[in-house]
Symmetry: C2
Amino acid sequence: MIRLSTSDPGFEREFTALVNARREADADVARDVRTIVASVRDEGDAALQAFTKKFDHHDLNQTGWRIEKAEWLAAHQSLSAELRDALELAAERIATYHLKQKPEDSDTVDSAGVRLGARWNAIQNAGIYIPGGRAAYPSSVLMNAIPAKVAGVERLVMVTPTPNGEVNPLVLAAAHIAGVDEIWRIGGAQAIAALAYGTGRIGAVDVITGPGNAWVAEAKRQLYGVVGIDMVAGPSEIVVVADGRNDPEWIAADLLSQAEHDPTSQSILFTDDAGFAKAVADAVDLQIGTLATAQVARASWDANGAIIVTANLMEAMPLVDRLAPEHLELACDDPQPLFDRVRHAGSVFLGRLTPEAIGDYVAGPNHVLPTGRRARFASGLSVLDFMKRTSFLQLDQGALAAIGPAAIALAEAEGLPAHAKSVASRLAGDQTETLL
Amino acid sequence: MIRLSTSDPGFEREFTALVNARREADADVARDVRTIVASVRDEGDAALQAFTKKFDHHDLNQTGWRIEKAEWLAAHQSLSAELRDALELAAERIATYHLKQKPEDSDTVDSAGVRLGARWNAIQNAGIYIPGGRAAYPSSVLMNAIPAKVAGVERLVMVTPTPNGEVNPLVLAAAHIAGVDEIWRIGGAQAIAALAYGTGRIGAVDVITGPGNAWVAEAKRQLYGVVGIDMVAGPSEIVVVADGRNDPEWIAADLLSQAEHDPTSQSILFTDDAGFAKAVADAVDLQIGTLATAQVARASWDANGAIIVTANLMEAMPLVDRLAPEHLELACDDPQPLFDRVRHAGSVFLGRLTPEAIGDYVAGPNHVLPTGRRARFASGLSVLDFMKRTSFLQLDQGALAAIGPAAIALAEAEGLPAHAKSVASRLAGDQTETLL
């Protein structure tokens, strides 16, 4: 953990280093991924079976390729009532929030007589990747599957690795609640390639979303264009802006809730109160030992944590914008003036009573958010990621007369005579009289 | 050009081959691009200067790195009145159409007392790539720059190669009209890398859009994640669905307007009238010889053209959906029933009097559209490509009591104790009484 203060003479240099620090793996997985992708494209199911044996240590012909719906249902029924209710509350709130994202079609005629519009359609087939093992989160299933179903995706395919054949029942239960249509017991770059190209058993999809390790992320990047993808995701991060009137324990828990995800996660506190800064640092040190996730949280906090003291909270805001954090908490009585200054952030949590974890699970907005300063140009996952727009035009003779000549002039200037002729011959109108 | 009929016994096999035919370069440019990108990242302007000397045959220190605004203005003033008016009409109509794409913010409180919302902001810095040489189109400048400016992009940077130092004045004039802020005389993968990473002279941007050759497309793909990009673009295509009551010359011109772009372009006609099919084929053969673009158009038509006879026009529609074409013309008296069956298409041109070329220039919708069957999952360029969304949440004690327990249950089930604690400590409410 580093401690900075905007009043330090070297602050700008040190803060710039913090902004530019790369926490993403430098490992060149691109070559391995290219090999895996090409194998699955060319050999289909045989390649899937071989890679699953190699990486997940089970034989798909024995464990089964698909996880059948009866098994999802059983997983759902075996949940405690508390957990089932929690998942269902989350699903309902996520669906409600995402329903409002559905875009409206347009269809108008302008003053020149040109009919102009746009029509949105759902993606027909979508795939979601859900990691196996430690990071097998039912909340990831809800956050990826529900926007797809709200959009109107007809066939929603989930892939998830089952290392040594072991399935996470919470993930199956969440898939049942979210309305997933198929689940395949595959993971890694090979699962992404199977979704993109299709295999004998698995039908290809049009869009792939969902979190994954470096191989999964690289496979999505390489197959971008063959299919649509959500975003290149990196390690998670939180920035907390807090005054001295917060409970240090609460803020420590918020910082640790990010740190416990992964050693590469990052937690940063901005505060205008040096005493509070120290109190939070002490609270983190105390709390960290009590966590079952202590080892991961400590690695993250030691390597990537930061506490930055500013003259006042507003001074923090341009610095926050430079970090363009995935998650931003504004923990003070009146967060609105600070929020009004935020330009680059994935999701913002306002006030003292809105811990980021609420957004991870049950609030409604998506928890799949841009990381690694990508909030400068990217948004959280939404219904729009599972839809696409078709524009359309319709001209009559009057509209063509109004705007056709300009099209001809531009086509000729660009050296494209057939473009010009396609407009000019209609403007000449020979056929109009005889046929229309 | 191939001729098919849905009544042929081998139709399904031949049509499937047409759908799956890849017209994109197989050349493995990825390695070259990786080298160029790494050089520009590490050596900045020196690498740019060297690559420009090598590929564009001029020395940036002599020709100048930037093209100054005085030169754009001069280019604009030297246009003929007809061309200037045409560009300005196009710019105005494109701006009007794209203004309607601006998304609305939301900010509501739900029945549980949770404040939920989403706020859209413009990308701060955007870059657009405009090819040099033969494919230097002022319409591309308008179609990329205007959505960015409508979105509210503050710094809009254009890069365009000037082979042998030669600039296309139409492109400069269009940049002037569209409100571009900077123009740099660079191109290829090196220009994309410069925009993504920034160099000593050129400030980095957050999003890069615009057409380019295979090197440019691959550089964008490789840098996706470092910056946002629009789409992986491939060769252009048109599908025309026409009954026998169209003028064959008009439809021939429409097919050729796509073919004249590039030898890899594709033009496909569906018609329910075998006599009309033959008449169009004959008209194409006659017209093609009259075009200044004959060589390119003939190469495209010979290699990739197709005429497909169907029993009726409606029978064509599911086949069109399988092609998911960039451009689709529905040339008949009442195109609406056909249009209602279209699910996958970039842009649709309705009726006999709406040639695709109208959409390339002056109608308003964007002409940057998904190619190569990507309309299954992608949309044309829009204002949304230059904006991003920040979601936000605010809870009070009542809202936290309503949804907090479910978050705790899920966090515990996922094995994330600090997540649970960040909610639970606030629910316990110790601080609430003392501080709030």
